[in-house]
């Protein structure tokens, strides 16, 4: 496969689609599929066929606005319909070329206008199971250009210049990591894509893998060229069956097109990727545990250093990046590091995909430039808290992130800013809570999650999270004392500072942040034996009953 051949495929694919008067894109991501968008697509195709219309019905990946699914996007008019079902098929086809159906139309300008799509540029526009769709939108241009016109060092320079930081949560500069692996001694190196997205309420990586799997593979191939690796692994949760099947399909297609395998682009560069399935352990998202899991061992973290960049998979230098990080690579190589660095805040460049869940109107996936305020994401793009309730807190960064109150909504979203106020960027989950949530109970819920998901290797995480959970349960039940609260805070500090891996180190964040911003709720539970939000079931004090 050469660039000329790639261009030919792109042109013929585009010409093929140009023959149609209209294209109807039906979202078939997990969210819309759960509302039977597959039946909708079949119905649309049937109506088009029986009416003999010159219309193409396409299966696409996630369009982002999961709350309004199933979604249908009509091109070239760019009309978006929401809550469409199979019975609307005839009406949708009939409206083509005329007035859009007002009752179904989704007109959320504010939701889409503030967003900048880099990672999600193809999501909802291409068929994730057709590699030619991806090629038609400049897919694999970056890989073949890098192979023919750039040195590995040149690739790393672009990535460094872009200011891209690891999207898995740590925020480690990607260029620096690539440079370290490239410099590490050894002929055999590995590239691993971490798709073990386990945070409750987070589905960014799943969506990218379901909607645009080729983009991740291209990013990995570019990385492999840059660091000198010849073998890659994608570690995906087994709980993501659709992502796994689309990825399997994408790998097969890429091999058939000569974009994976030996001598890619007629160069000496060879690279292939295998899928490894996670068996349901959250801790396997931690890189050393993930590597152990790929090696077939128990998924427990190891102390770092040595970092995987020096000694990773089977003791070889290993580059490990998250799905979203790899999804950013191709556009950076295509458009240059400077272009990427022009977006975002001073120390957090580019865009970030967030999964909005919880008490928010527009549940779904959004991609915004770094530095945008939480308020814009939640009240603007997210449409605010529904049903007349008021906003109480947002938890960023998954179960080990912090809960931020309304006063914090004006901070710009970046790695450093979130860390400063006691939360983390994490992988990009955002759980919005309203006045019906009890913050003590929320903290207890998240600690229960980390307690259950702790691997049990180091003592502070294994026993400490269990103790935190016991103390929080006492407070929720109204039997906690002020001594318990003091003990809880002590415990949080020890677990945070002494745990072996990120899971343990960040597990007290929900407690510490709620103690910082919602301390009065803890005091209410302990001293006045009442839950302000009315969530916790506190029995009335004995003297009242007597």
């Amino acid at each position: 496969m050469t660039i000329e051949e790639l261009d030919q495929i792109a042109e013929s694919t585009r010409a093929e689609y140009d023959k149609y008067d209209h294209e109807i894109n039906v979202c078939m991501g997990t969210g819309c599929l759960s509302q039977h968008s597959d039946n909708l697509k079949d119905a649309l195709a049937k109506v088009v066929e029986t009416q003999g219309k010159n219309v193409f019905v396409r299966r696409t990946g996630c369009m982002g606005l999961c709350a309004a699914g199933p979604l249908v996007l009509v091109d070239p008019e760019e009309v978006l319909y929401q809550h469409v079902n199979a019975s609307n098929a005839e009406a949708v086809v009939a409206s083509l070329g005329g007035e859009p159906i007002a009752a179904l139309q989704c007109d959320l300008r504010e939701h889409f206008d503030e967003q900048v799509h880099v990672v999600l540029e193809n999501s909802g526009h291409i068929d994730p199971e057709k590699i030619d769709d991806y090629i038609a939108r400049d897919g694999y241009q970056a890989l073949l250009t890098a192979l023919s016109d750039m040195t590995p060092k040149g690739v790393i320079r672009q990535i460094t210049e872009s200011g891209l930081r690891g999207r898995g949560g740590g925020g480690y500069p990607t260029g620096l990591k690539w440079g370290t692996v490239a410099k590490a001694a050894g002929d055999l190196k590995y590239v691993i894509c971490n798709g073990d997205e386990g945070d409750p309420g987070a589905f960014m990586d799943r969506s990218v893998l379901e909607s645009d799997p080729q983009r991740v593979i291209e990013g990995m191939a570019i990385a492999a060229y840059a660091v000198g690796a010849s073998k890659g692994y994608i570690y995906v949760r087994a709980e993501y069956p659709l992502a796994v099947s689309r990825l399997t399909n994408a790998l097969r297609d890429a091999r058939r097109r000569g974009l994976l395998g030996n001598n890619i682009g007629n160069t000496p560069f060879s690279f292939d990727v295998e899928i490894r399935l996670g068996a349901g352990a959250f801790v396997c998202g931690e890189e050393t545990a993930l590597i152990a899991s790929i090696e077939g061992r128990r998924g427990t973290p190891k102390p770092r250093p040595p970092y995987p960049a020096m000694s990773g998979l089977w003791g070889r230098p290993t580059l490990i990046n998250n799905v979203e990080t790899f999804a950013n690579i191709a556009p950076i190589i295509r458009k240059g590091g400077k272009w990427f660095a022009s977006m975002g805040s001073e120390r957090s460049k580019g865009t970030k995909v967030f999964a909005l869940t919880g008490k928010i109107t527009n549940t779904g996936l959004v991609e915004v430039p770094m530095g945008i305020s939480l308020r814009k994401i939640i009240e603007g793009i997210g449409g605010g808290v529904p049903d007349g309730h008021t906003f109480k807190a947002v938890q960023t960064g998954g179960p080990s992130g912090g809960c931020l109150p309304a006063e914090m909504l004006d901070i710009g979203v970046s790695y450093d800013a979130l860390l400063k106020v006691g939360s983390i960027m994490g992988s990009g989950g955002m759980i919005i809570m309203d006045d019906t949530s009890c913050m003590v109970n929320v903290a207890r819920f998240f600690v229960e999650f980390t307690m259950t998901e702790s691997c049990g290797k180091c003592i502070p995480c294994r026993a400490g999270t269990a103790q935190m959970h016991t103390l929080l349960s006492r407070i929720c039940a109204g039997t906690g004392t002020m001594e318990d609260l003091e003990l809880l805070e002590d415990l949080c500090i020890t677990v945070k500072e002494t745990s072996l891996c990120g899971l343990g180190q960040t597990s007290p964040n929900p407690v510490l942040s709620t103690l910082k911003y919602f301390r009065n709720e803890y005091i209410e539970h302990i001293v006045h034996k009442r839950c302000p939000a009315g969530v916790c079931n506190i029995e009335a004090p004995v003297e009242v009953l007597a």
């Binding site: 259950t452 691997c455 049990g456 180091c458 002590d490 500072e497 002494t498």
Partner: protein, 237 residues
């Protein structure tokens, strides 16, 4: 002939020391009679950095490093016994004492227990945390040894010695988090497992979790130092 040795100099607890590159902070500290508390570490076994008792402070970094696996760097300034570290160590020991049913007075290892000794050394006078009192089993199916999970602290020394030194690997960890437990083979009775009856696991166990049946009711000191001699003999071969 010159030997290429890369020497590093560093400061541990305000004492200037030298070390070979690649040595761990713990090794260098021990060579210089600086005591860092350890529990999962045992000379002669691979380190896992799991118990977190050997954490030390490095000047210029807020991150605490496990001395058993962190290697020395030129010019690093290590503090091994600050107030912050002491507090964390007591806290971790408290978590261990509250995690399972550690009742020294009825334990075969009373007086010879590393956990007990550490508690005394670190000035742990009482446990503030709620005791979890889990229901755990005792497996006495083996003709010579017994495992009492009530006293296990999951240091995985038995797992490592069985795998790394004896080469049998009958011990491993099952479950996760607070429900973790050591098992023999695929969670079958110790007595019917592929155990070679070498007894190494019993000798390296820091508490009374693994013990020799013939010693019940009597003094049961353990002799983990055999590992160093064994390793020396193997190296000589």
């Amino acid at each position: 002939m010159t030997v290429d040795v890369d020497v590093k100099t560093l400061v541990i607890d305000e004492q200037e020391v030298s070390a070979r590159a690649g040595q761990t902070i713990l090794e260098v500290a021990q060579e210089n009679d600086i005591k860092i508390p350890t529990l999962c570490h045992l000379d002669g076994l691979g380190d896992v950095g799991a118990c977190r008792l050997c954490l030390v402070e490095i000047k210029g970094s807020n991150k605490l490093l496990p001395a058993c696996v962190a290697t020395v760097q030129e010019g690093m300034e290590v503090s091994t016994n600050t107030e912050r570290l002491q507090k964390h160590r007591r806290s971790i020991l408290e978590m261990l004492f509250a995690e399972r049913n550690h009742i020294c007075s009825v334990c075969v290892s009373n007086g010879h227990c590393e956990l007990q000794t550490l508690g005394q050394e670190q000035g742990l006078t009482h446990v503030r945390l709620p005791y979890r009192n889990p229901e755990l089993t005792v497996d006495a199916s083996h003709e010579r040894f017994t495992v009492d999970h009530n006293r296990c602290i999951l240091c995985t020394r038995c797992v490592r010695v069985c795998s790394e030194v004896e080469g049998a690997h009958i011990w491993d960890v099952m479950g996760r988090g607070i429900d973790s437990i050591i098992i023999t083979d695929l969670h079958q009775e110790w007595g019917s497992s592929a155990c070679t009856r070498c007894g190494k696991c019993v000798q390296v166990c820091p508490t009374g979790a693994l013990f020799d049946k013939s010693k019940v009711g009597s003094d049961h000191p353990k002799y983990p130092d055999f590992l160093l001699q064994l390793n020396l003999m193997r190296e000589a071969q």
